[in-house]
């Protein structure tokens, strides 16, 4: 800053570029209060980019607003043009969507969430109806069933899920025997671990565990596969060609998961009993023959076996339908695929457990 007879001159020098953005901003902020009699001298400025030009423009604009026009000198014509461009584009835009009042937005969120739960329940019911109609219709027009896709899906969701389902059922069976024995030992009734395992594994655990694994493994895959096809507009393309996406994408998956769930549940039951039997043999000294005897005794009432297995196809349908529905509901971005995949897994596990409770009440009522 110079004081001469003609008044004060402020000299600007150096490079006005983004590299020194933070410092330059401070310099400009400190200068906002200068009186209009000051002369601005720009001839020593080296380089200037849009950030530097923006700061200088802002200084000029703010000073002019307060005190009227201000004199400046020494800016090269190129940079004067840049200032003009900046001026033309002084057009403030917000960076983020407007903030809302927190209380109102909480109420709003609760309202929207409630509505969306009701809505997704309604959607699910509607979708079940739609799939059912297409399914029944395919009896009249057998060509509509895509056998190749069906077999492929059975392999994907059934055969390829066997190792993980088997392993988990095996381990859970072993754990139940191990933990159950600790409790039963207090009464000297260790031998009844076999009955306990048989009843709990066959009635509840086998099918429930299988359903949860399948929901996490295949339900999520359904949503992601169909969702990315929606993003790629493949589903729209199918419709324009006259192919019904329900026939091609949804029915094979739903129809595949029904037998797959039954077989996987059966497999999980067997593996659970094997795991439990092995644990009983190793840690409780109950020989496999005795264990098998107890298992058979527990199965004198065959309903124990059927109660678990009847639920399997129902759970399969629920998982497949909510997976496919969420996949078809994907909109817009890749992020949406992730959101709907989460939703499909959470929703199908929730529905499986709710249905399981309903079944439990029902079977108790009919004395099974």
């Amino acid at each position: 800053m110079d004081q001469t007879a003609h008044g004060t001159t402020v000299h600007f020098g150096g490079d006005w570029v983004v590299d020194f953005g933070a410092e330059l901003e401070h310099v400009i902020e400190d200068m906002e209060q200068i009186p209009r009699s000051v002369r601005l001298e720009f001839s020593h400025i080296g380089k200037m980019d849009t950030l530097g030009a923006w700061l200088i423009y802002k200084l000029l604009r703010n000073v002019e607003k307060e005190h009227g026009a201000i004199k400046y000198h020494g800016l090269s014509t190129d940079y004067q043009d840049l200032l003009v461009t900046i001026k033309e584009n002084d057009n403030p835009a917000k960076s983020s969507p407007p903030r809302r009042n927190p209380v109102i937005s909480l109420a709003e969120d609760i309202g929207f969430a409630t509505l969306s739960i009701l809505e997704s329940f309604g959607q699910l019911l509607g979708f079940v109806g739609l799939v059912l109609v297409r399914f029944l219709g395919s009896f009249r027009d057998i060509k509509r069933i895509k056998w190749t896709a069906l077999v492929f899906q059975i392999e994907q969701v059934g055969l390829r899920a066997m190792p993980i389902v088997g392993l988990i059922a095996f381990l859970i069976g072993a754990v139940i025997v191990n933990q159950g024995a600790v409790q039963l030992r207090q009464f000297g009734l260790e031998i009844f671990v076999a009955d306990m395992l048989t009843v709990s594994q066959l009635r509840e655990l086998g099918v429930l565990l299988t359903a949860i694994i399948v929901a996490g493994r295949s339900g999520s895959a359904f949503t992601a596969q169909i969702g990315s096809m929606v993003l790629n507009e493949e589903v729209a393309a199918m419709e324009t060609i006259g192919i019904n996406p329900i026939d091609v994408l949804v029915l094979p998956r739903v129809l595949a998961l029904v037998p797959a769930m039954v077989i996987l549940t059966l497999f999980a039951d067997i593996m659970g009993l094997i795991g439990g039997g092995l644990m009983a043999w190793i840690s409780l000294d109950i020989s496999p023959a005795v264990f098998a005897d107890r298992v058979q005794a527990a199965l004198v009432v065959p309903t124990t076996y059927w109660v678990g297995l009847i639920k399997a196809p129902v759970f399969g349908v629920v998982i497949a339908i909510s997976g496919c529905l969420e996949g078809l509901s994907v909109k817009g971005t890749a992020e949406s695929v992730g959101r709907h995949t989460t939703k499909s897994v959470v929703q199908s596990i929730f529905l499986v457990i709710v249905l399981d409770a309903v079944f439990a009440v029902f079977f108790t009522a009919i004395d099974w």
Binding site: E25, D90, P92, A93, E335
Partner: protein, 259 residues
């Protein structure tokens, strides 16, 4: 031609060789880009235009050959130098490639935040300035990419490419998918930004109108290399079946290039 010979070369590609498996994309490819020009790259589908652009901006490592930007061999740069050099060019991808979880304004702030420690207020102001410079309305700032039309996404992508005031801008099919009015607006925008900001522009395009309206020189990619570089008038005279078909076809006549 003598005029261009004295100008500074900012991108210099020599004997570039690119191959995927057995498929040769580029073989002995040479190209120069001069400071302050708009160079258009054309070529049939599958001739490796995008691969060339990605090689130059160092997203693909070529099998052979050297690529110099501002006289620096890109293959020999260390990590730190590389990120310093990257600041000097901006890239606009075909559909904008905006980060979908950020608003337009936040997208533009990403490169600024990555390199510099600027105040929030200044970041907002700079983003707003770039939004306006690429011809987007201020309302577009707080919007997410999924809420924008294709043309707006391209403009937002350009705004992000311009965030750091680069010296070179790479544009991948800037007008593809735009209606003719939107496309010609975009052409004018490129030309205007080049003039006000002194940019060097390397653009890949199929659009004859764009070539005609904005490009100083055009490079033609065919037979795995750049077969000719020149102004439209020079290319019309050039004797190669693809070039002939391209510049003297019905579409070229419609664009007012020939006939």
């Amino acid at each position: 031609m003598t005029e261009t010979e004295n100008r500074e070369i900012v991108i210099k590609v020599r004997e570039l060789h690119n191959r995927f498996g057995y498929q040769v994309v580029h073989d002995n490819l040479n190209i120069d880009v001069y400071r302050g020009e708009i160079l258009g790259l054309v070529g049939g589908s599958g001739t490796g235009k995008s691969v060339l652009m990605k090689s130059i901006i160092n997203l693909i490592q070529p099998q052979n050959g050297t690529i110099e930007i501002f006289g620096k061999n890109q293959a020999e740069l260390g990590e730190e130098e590389k990120s310093k050099e990257r600041r000097r060019f901006g890239v606009m991808f075909q559909d904008g490639a905006l980060f979908s979880s950020l608003t337009v304004s936040q997208n533009i702030q990403v490169p600024l935040k990555e390199y510099f420690d600027l105040s929030k207020n200044l970041l907002h102001e700079i983003a707003a300035l770039k939004i306006s410079m690429v011809g987007l309305p201020a309302l577009a700032g707080p919007k997410y990419p999924s809420e924008l039309s294709g043309g707006m996404r391209k403009r937002a992508g350009l705004a992000r490419a311009l965030a750091l005031d680069p010296e070179i801008v790479f544009l991948d099919e800037p007008t593809a998918g735009l209606d003719p009015i939107g496309a010609s607006k975009f052409d004018r925008l490129i030309k205007q930004l080049k003039e006000t900001l002194g940019l060097t522009v390397f653009l890949v395009t199929h659009d004859l109108d764009t070539l005609h309206a904005v490009c100083d020189r055009i490079a033609v990619l065919a037979d795995n290399r750049v077969i000719v570089v020149g102004t439209i008038e020079e290319l019309i005279e050039f004797d190669h079946p693809w070039v002939r078909e391209y510049f003297c076809g019905a579409r070229a006549r419609a664009a007012g290039i020939t006939g």
